[in-house]
């Protein structure tokens, strides 16, 4: 890999006794789309906030665009674009005025300002709505405008914290199209967090984070091979007996979940006939699919990645997010 754009070594962040981030190491190369995945409270937002110089780490080193986040926060901020988890547009201004505001804040030279804003609007296909106030925009359009704003000042890295949160699946996919377009046109590195496992498929590489630590790091394909083959789900009236028989007769480790049995096999096509001939219990339904990153997460952590209730850490994080409640 050439010189990394983001380099993190042994990053730790604690809030009192709560350890939000417990020693993270990672490197992201130029032009990569890097996904940071994990359930709520895993430490994603804390890590991204440290990289964006919004929170100071307790210990460890973080460099963005070759600059230490502790030594020169302004230098880092000038070289990164941010799309926050919560909306941060001025609804009373038009789309163009919001971008204009940003262009001034980041000191874009006057003679290229208008052209640059036009280009950014074009990438996210908001040219026609540029003169409407943001109040009239849909949720997806606001996100697109925030992406356009995030790249306006030619940052080297675009950070997005849960950019697709609260959007419907169709809009989410569109956002991904725009992010790929941005990467192609701007030669930019994209670092984003999400807790939607299916979105990780759009990334070049992903890190799965759980309880403040990275539990897996690699391309989506690499991580999926860890599950090994296909995932077969069997519906049966007697799940316990099915698990028992799979273990004894077919020598497979199955898990039981909500009355269905889940088993990983190397190849589902040849497994199905054997399943029916070798198991004596009644089977209501069988389905087989390629492993998803949900399966990877389940395998790595033993837990399904789901919306969990607000943990104490989430609450802390939210408090930190409300401006000025932070610790710096």
């Amino acid at each position: 890999m050439s010189q990394p754009v983001i380099a993190v070594r042994d990053l730790v962040k604690t809030y009192g006794k709560v350890e939000a981030v417990r020693g993270i190491d990672l490197e992201v190369g130029p032009g990569e789309i890097f996904g940071f995945l994990g359930p709520n409270g895993a430490g994603k937002s804390t890590t991204i906030s440290i990289l964006c110089t919004l929170i100071r780490p307790t210990s460890g080193v973080a460099e963005v665009a070759g600059i230490d986040v502790l030594k020169d926060p302004s230098g880092v901020r000038a070289r990164i674009g941010l799309v926050f988890q919560d909306p941060s547009l001025d609804g009373q201004l038009t789309g163009r005025e919001n971008l204009d505001f940003h262009a001034y804040l980041y000191g874009l030279p006057g003679h290229t300002r208008k052209q640059r804003i036009d280009d950014a609007l074009e990438i996210v296909e908001l040219t026609e709505r540029a003169s409407s106030t943001v109040l009239t925009y849909s949720g997806g359009m606001r996100r697109r405008l925030e992406i356009a704003r995030g790249i306006l000042h030619y940052p080297q890295v675009l950070f997005l914290d849960e950019p697709t949160l609260g959007l419907d699946p169709q809009t989410r996919n569109k956002i991904w199209d725009y992010l790929h377009a941005v990467r192609t046109r701007e030669h930019i590195t994209i670092f984003m967090t999400t807790h939607y496992m299916d979105e990780a498929e759009f990334c070049d590489r992903i890190a799965i984070i759980d309880q403040g630590k990275i539990v897996a790091l690699g391309t989506p394909a690499e991580l999926k091979t860890r599950v090994g083959g296909d995932v077969v789900t069997i519906t049966t009236p007697d799940a316990a007996a099915a698990v028992e028989q799979l273990r004894n007769v077919m020598h497979l480790e199955a898990t039981q979940e909500d009355g269905t049995v889940r088993v990983e096999v190397s190849e589902s096509a040849s497994f199905m006939p054997r399943l029916f001939s070798e198991l004596t219990i009644p089977i209501t339904a069988v389905s087989a699919r390629r492993p998803s990153l949900d399966d990877v997460f389940l395998k790595l952590t033993g837990r399904a990645i789901r919306e969990q209730g607000m943990t104490s850490l989430d609450t802390m994080r939210n408090m930190g997010r409300i401006w000025g409640g932070g610790r710096r």
């Binding site: 130029p30 032009g31 201004l93 000191g107």
Partner: protein
């Protein structure tokens, strides 16, 4: 990683950063945004005239009628000054005062709606936020004050062109001082409720003590004399009153008898403006400090 991504970037990247230049530009755009929002919300401009009109015509006319009996005019024997005319500059001041304070509320609003984050993460000096917001609020409040001048003929205040020109800097400096106070408070506030609470404790006393509705030179009780002299709005409103009423042809003798005094001396316009500038500068420093504290 894709090959395309490894090719040399053709887009210009920020390499060196001129923080001072960026901060000046930031002040400009923060100020401009406030004005765009103000201009876009024209119904607010009209609606905010309701309160001054109420004070001027209902309160002013009502009291004028009952005060007329004793000595002919307001402000001593031989004066033809009506009470409504006396409070007219005070109502301009009220408009400036209230608009300044409320415009600072937009900071709390921005914080709640997330927009403030966009400003605070930018690679600029934090003072830009405080200065830009203060200037934005001051400009709006100055306009709101000047709009009241339209009502002058209705209460019989005559304005000269030169008088109007003179009122502009007076209104602006007063607006600047109060806006800076509002921003200094808003910078520390998390919630709208909190800001409104604090402001109710500040705004109404500032208004009532400022001599908008009664002359400060007259025989006030000692404690009230002290409080009114501590109120920065007293100086702002007295300055506006001197300019408005003298342009309307009120004699300087009457003006002095109604105006603000300090230790028995009438204050010059320059002294009053200096008080506002010093107060505004102090508040602005507090505001800058508050924003720098909160990273």
């Amino acid at each position: 990683m894709s090959e395309r991504a490894l090719s040399a970037p053709t887009v210009p990247r920020a390499q060196t950063l001129n923080i001072r230049g960026a901060t000046l530009r930031a002040i400009y755009i923060i100020w401009k945004r406030d004005l765009i929002r103000y201009w876009r919300d024209r119904t607010r401009v009209i609606a905010s005239l309701a309160q001054p009109v109420l004070f001027l015509f209902v309160f002013g006319s009502g009291l004028s009628a009952s005060l007329r009996g004793s000595s002919g005019g307001f402000g001593g024997t031989g004066s033809s000054l009506q009470y409504a005319q006396f409070i007219f500059p005070g109502i301009i001041g009220m408009s400036v005062l209230f608009t300044s304070i409320f415009s600072a509320m937009s900071i709390v609003w921005d914080r709640e709606f997330g927009f403030l984050k966009e400003v605070l993460v930018a690679p600029i000096h934090r003072s830009a936020v405080a200065i830009g917001k203060t200037l934005g609020g001051a400009t709006q409040a100055m306009f709101q004050g000047l709009v009241i001048l339209i009502l002058a003929p209705l209460v019989g205040v005559k304005l000269t062109f030169l008088g109007v020109i003179e009122i502009i800097p007076m209104a602006f400096l007063f607006a600047f001082a109060v806006s800076a106070l509002g921003v200094a408070v808003a910078a520390r506030m998390r919630t709208m409720q909190g800001f409104q609470m604090v402001m109710n404790f500040l705004m109404m006393p500032m208004f009532f003590l400022a001599g908008a509705l009664f002359p400060l030179g007259a025989n006030l009780p000692g404690w009230l004399t002290v409080l009114t002299r501590l109120d920065p709005a007293s100086y702002g409103i007295d300055a506006i009153r001197r300019v408005v009423l003298s342009s309307s042809g009120v004699s300087s003798r009457v003006l002095d008898s109604l105006g603000l005094t300090l230790f028995g001396h009438s204050l010059s316009l320059w002294t009053e403006e200096a008080v506002l500038v010093v107060f505004g500068a102090m508040m602005l420093s507090l505001a800058v400090y508050a924003f720098r504290q909160r990273d």
